[in-house]
């Protein structure tokens, strides 16, 4: 019996200022699967993640995306988030003066409300946030600082994982979450992701380094080049790429 896909991207074409960036992408992600996306700089990996999350700088020209069976493009970015689409940003932005805790609470409140769950009171939320911080080896002071304000590159990335852990999405798009992490932090972040893996939850992991995939073992690896998926395979494809480079495919 075939499962209903969690995400079904068909022939997706998207452009910015009249320039085509995604040029016919098709991708099916079933519940519980981990897909890795690799590919040269500028090939459209972040664009794909952003289009799925609903960033409006991009114009979807043709194609369709179904998420949990519904047309994803019908939903506003915040609605997609509440439905369970999570994007860990390649370059997380700072929001000065807004404490991480306040931001996380507003976010978790919004998502829980949508799911028909009760708002967490401040003490229970704080407890939960502190536990997750501990798992990610982030100091609790981290929660009091402004969102990403003065965070180091690696701290920003771990903060994204913290948000993911709190929001418990059904589809997590991790855009180069491993870039900028030291070896220990990489392992901690990967553990954070693995702890969330379950038969319902899926991940799309964008990375340049096959090393990450030693920790987060993917079910599929895709190579994106020139706005198209040019090759798909299993875990071993990443190793092969590392050895031979992208020119091997083109």
């Amino acid at each position: 019996m075939s499962k209903t896909p969690l995400l079904e991207v068909k022939d997706l074409v998207a452009e910015v200022d009249g320039k085509t960036i995604l040029n016919g992408i098709s991708l099916t992600v079933n519940p519980g699967e981990v897909h890795a996306i690799m590919g040269p700089n500028g090939s459209g990996k972040s664009t794909l993640a952003n289009v799925l999350a609903g960033r409006d700088d991009y114009e979807v020209v043709s194609g369709s995306v179904r998420f949990k069976g519904q047309d994803l493009f019908e939903l506003e970015p915040e609605e997609r988030a509440r439905e369970g689409v999570f994007l860990a940003f390649q370059y997380p932005v700072e929001i000065p003066g807004v404490s991480n805790m306040q931001f996380l609470k507003a976010s978790v409140d919004a998502v829980r409300k949508h799911r028909g769950q009760e708002e967490l009171d401040a003490p229970s939320f704080m407890k939960l946030a502190r536990e997750h911080c501990k798992e990610l080896k982030l100091k609790p002071e981290f929660l009091k600082r402004g969102v990403n304000e003065g965070f180091s590159g690696g701290e920003k990335k771990r903060n994204e994982i913290l948000q993911m852990a709190l929001l418990e999405p059904s589809l997590a798009l991790l855009d180069e979450t491993d870039s900028g992490l030291d070896i220990d932090a990489l392992q901690v972040a990967a553990e954070g992701v693995n702890a969330l893996r379950n038969p319902e939850r899926s991940f799309i992991v964008v990375t340049h380094y096959q090393r990450l995939l030693n920790y987060i073992v993917p079910d599929y690896v895709h190579v994106l080049a020139g706005g198209k998926i040019v090759k798909s395979g299993g875990r071993e494809l990443a190793l092969e790429l590392e050895e031979k480079g992208y020119s091997w495919i083109q």
Binding site: R55, D56, E78, A81, A106, S107, V147, L167
Partner: protein, 479 residues
Amino acid sequence: MSDEIESLIRREYEAGFVTNIESETLPPGLNEDVIRIISAKKNEPEWMLQWRLEAYRKWCDMEAPQWAHLQHPPVDFNAISYYSSPKSKDDAPKSLDEVDPEILETFEKLGIPLHERAKLAGVAVDAVFDSVSIGTTYKDELAKAGVIFCSISEAIKDYPDLIQKYLGSVVPQQDNFYAALNSAVFSDGSFVYIPKNTRCPMELSTYFRINELNTGQFERTLIVADEGSYVSYLEGCTAPMRDENQLHAAVVELVALGDAEIKYSTVQNWYPGDENGKGGIYNFVTKRGVCDGANSKISWTQVETGSAITWKYPSVILRGDNSIGEFYSVALTNGYQQADTGTKMIHLGKNTKSTIVSKGISAGRSQNAYRGLVRISPRAEGARNYTQCDSLLIGDQCGAHTFPYIENKNPDAILEHEATTSKVSDDQLFLCRQRGIDEEKAVSMIVNGFCKEVFKELPMEFAVEAGKLLEVSLEGAVG
């Protein structure tokens, strides 16, 4: 900037209702007779009338200032009525029980219950409706501590010595055009006196409400903190939505004697006009404090979200050695609002210190200017000033301007100045939305974060209020 941020502006002004009560309003126009009538209506002593007339004569020779970064048609001072009071059966109400229930209801709707049972815990309120103070809560409790908190009209009758000594001592009659006008026609306002070595047992607050059409409001506030005393005072204001511009020209004077401290907070939410820039309050206000004695401190905190035009520079004269002046300001403009606001810190005494933190937020088609002066006199050895001026832009049709002036006559003084301009970026908004937070909530969160340093200076009860006010004032700032 995305279209969403550009698309503008439908704000809800919750305080915009009109109270239907009978009132007694002078016909528009200003001359010496009008001043005599105002003074007579208030049963003022002769010296007060003479003081007003003197101010009026000075005003007649003055001209409205043109230097501010503001544009508006000239104000027709003869089209304004200078006195309006609710018509009550007898003369003025003797106690809150005698106040017209419609008026009590008005204040209740604004969140300022005045009657005994519901009055705000821990905050004594003087409520001013159009030109008159209609009552003050917690009078007895304050009297026990020796604190005087009453309307300025009462003070003129009951405490003439204090009034004659301090009225106009910080802002002289001829200080500027609007201050001269106020000195001639001021109707009511609050008077506070804190005796020596007394910590005022509660927050004091005045709430100003303009109701009557075509009426100016010219209130006058005087706060005197005697040696070693402390008081925290909060001022709030609203007005109905009217198509006409209404004039508000207040004067606030603060006097802190040796070792005394005055903390003055304002949450100003006068009607800002509609989305096309029609109507709204012209807010031309002179606020100044003098740190008269050594080790005294005056701190201004203001959150300004209302008024069509704001022209105000709460200032501190640091005369006493080691005295401290502070100015924390959030000025938010949206729609077609214009604000030209800032402060003056005049360092005269030795080792005087001042801190200026100004946060300007401009949205819509508004213009927001910070104008500040730091003056260090030759004898102000060891003076220090820290100024931080931050502007936040929402959308790209608004403007932010800073005009910092420094006059330093003492080479030992240390002055630091920091200024930033930033925008609510699409990236920040997208981050929030990607986390499930809707756009309006996101903008208000970002703006609140930007204002955090100022909000933390407000008394607790009002910090929350101020946050909510920003949220309302920003409604419609993004599509």
